[in-house]
Amino acid sequence: MSKSDVILKIYTILLLGIIYVPIGVLIVFSFNNSRNRAVFTGFTLENYYRLLADERVWSSFYNSIWVAIVVTIASVFFAILLSYAVTRYDFKGKDILDMLLLIPIIIPEIVEALTLLLFFIIIGIPLSPWTIIIGHIAFDISFAYLVIKARMAGYDPQYEEAARTLGADELKTFFRVTLPILLPGIIAASLIAFVESYDDFIKSYFTRPGGFSTLPVHIWSMASRRGVTVDLNALATIVVIIAIFFAYIRIKMERWM
């Protein structure tokens, strides 16, 4: 290993450490027994008991998950079709389409959310979980499209051509050749789409119906409720532990293979 590699390694480990600091703070504060969330006074597990008993946290958690799943499936589906059309065919207005598809991620979310709300109100569509989903899909399509298109453009179409030369028709080629090659891109796109939706606050906040909250919306209202964020620190801690658990399984599986 060269000297520069060692420096890079140390830097990477340091950076990884630093990005965990705020998470560590969350974890520590999840055991805080103080009613004032600005100071740590002592250890307690009460926050966890409260969290486990709090139906609202769980229902909003559940809402976030199912909304994100619907959004991910829909937007990845749209994105696969779009990127296939754009990378495999030549047609008029392709560049314009490409630019148009960038717009949803270029424009600031706050503007998008507020105009969408205005639209729903003026057209008279009552707000529902579906209005949140619609809002999320609108920008997740673009995220998924960017990732999948990059993947699709990044590999050699000669695989497809080879398959076709061997007699497979286009649909068959798509399922047998394109899709498998695309899969890492699809998974990456799904992850991004899922996280973008799951973690979205602004759009969910403005286009949600009364009484329906996703986790971020709930967190926001908890924070303005004052004094109860400790529960959410507990929740965050659980999320991190689950994530680390999955990471661990991932590492284990790697060893087996």
Binding site: D5, L8, K9, Y11, T12, L15, L16, I19, P22, I23, V25, L26, F29, A38, F78, L81, A85, Y89, M99, L100, I103, I105, I106, I107, P108, I110, V111, L114, T115, L116, L118, F119, I122, G124, G135, I137, A138, A150, E170, L171, K172, F175, R176, L179, P180, I181, L183, P184, D199, L215, I219, W220, L232, N233, V239, A243, A247, R250, I251, E254
Partner: protein
């Protein structure tokens, strides 16, 4: 061969599934002796134009209704073409520039714009500088065995909700928070540094919250980097520094562009972070438009807000277009 595809285990699990679905569909299609829907499929297969239409239609229709038409409504609203009657909105055939004039009357608007762009640009540069070395190391230098683990480790903190992360940064940057305590214990400073309520806090928190958006695309391109190419450069006598500058950097520019855009866009419209960790002089375009819609009451607020939002969007779009054109062109030459 390490083709770089192996970093997600799901790939291996799902691949047979996809293959079998594909097979199933194929055999179905072949077995049936051309019923009506197959004829349609055949026609679609035969015509390129139809194919393109079928591929583009679902997303286009969705986006036209739920993404573009809201802006048309906002455009109409900003020209005062709706009148509010309690909970309903009546279309009035008129065009007035009132809201635009009132918008430009607000003296702070240009300062706010400047500030938003300043935050966003600094955040982009900061996240790029911070995550490039790590992405380079993980994507290019690290043993492929550990790549996925390292990427996971990098992403896990960002699975924690954005708001919670931001709240937690408040503790870190507090006058008596972790950073200040650490620096004071080390004797590097005597008085605590004031972070909260300053530009610095806004930028630090934005950089932290958005770092993974920069990291992922960078990792994506660096991971695919051709090792042989770099070795060739070295064999030809290029110094590591020169190799990096002439080969690695240009090759990773798609990732840099994608990452910069992914970070820049939310950063320039950010309104939560300035609200939570910012101070008095941290009004951004995001907070401004929010306050037009929410604070300024009634029709006028929505009208001015729509006007501001639209101008803002056009501005951003032009800027992004130029950015892509400019940097995109460089990529081709590099």
């Amino acid at each position: 061969m390490d083709d770089g595809y192996d970093w997600l285990v799901s790939y291996l699990i799902l691949r047979p599934l996809f293959l079998s679905i594909g097979d199933l569909l194929m055999s179905r299609l072949e077995e049936e002796r051309k019923p009506f829907h197959i004829k349609i499929l055949d026609r679609i297969r035969a015509s390129k134009l139809l194919k393109i239409i079928v591929l583009l239609a679902p997303a286009s229709i969705f986006l036209a209704i739920f993404f573009f038409s809201p802006f048309i409504i906002a455009l109409m609203y900003s020209f005062n073409m709706f009148k509010q009657v309690v909970y309903t909105y009546v279309f009035v055939p008129r065009i007035s520039l009132e809201y635009y004039i009132r918008l430009l009357d607000f003296p702070g608007i240009f300062v706010t714009m400047q500030r938003s762009f300043y935050y966003a640009i600094v955040t982009v540069i900061l996240t790029l500088l911070l995550s490039y070395p790590a992405a380079y190391y993980i994507g290019f230098k690290l043993d492929p065995k550990y790549k996925s683990t390292a990427v996971l480790l990098f992403i896990i903190p960002f699975w924690v909700n954005f708001l919670l992360r931001t709240y937690s940064m408040k503790f870190v940057l507090h006058d008596e928070g972790l950073v200040n305590t650490l620096l004071m214990t080390l004797g590097l400073i005597k008085e605590p540094i004031r972070f909260l309520g300053t530009d610095l806090a806004v930028i630090i928190v934005m950089a932290y919250d958005y770092m993974f958006l920069m990291f992922l695309p960078l990792y994506g391109v660096l991971e695919k980097l051709d090792k042989e190419l770099l070795e060739a450069a070295a064999t030809l006598g290029a110094s590591p520094y020169k190799t990096f500058l002439k080969v690695t950097l240009p090759l990773s520019s798609p990732g840099i562009i994608a990452g910069s855009l992914l970070v820049f866009i939310p950063a320039v419209g950010e309104f939560i972070i300035p609200m939570l960790v910012g101070g008095v002089n941290t009004t951004t375009l995001g907070t401004l438009i929010y306050s037009f819609f929410i604070t300024v009451r009634g029709e006028a607020g929505w009208g001015i807000g729509s006007a501001a939002g639209l101008i803002y969007i056009i501005f951003i779009m032009v800027l992004s277009y130029l950015y892509i054109k400019l940097v995109g062109a460089e990529v081709q030459f590099g």
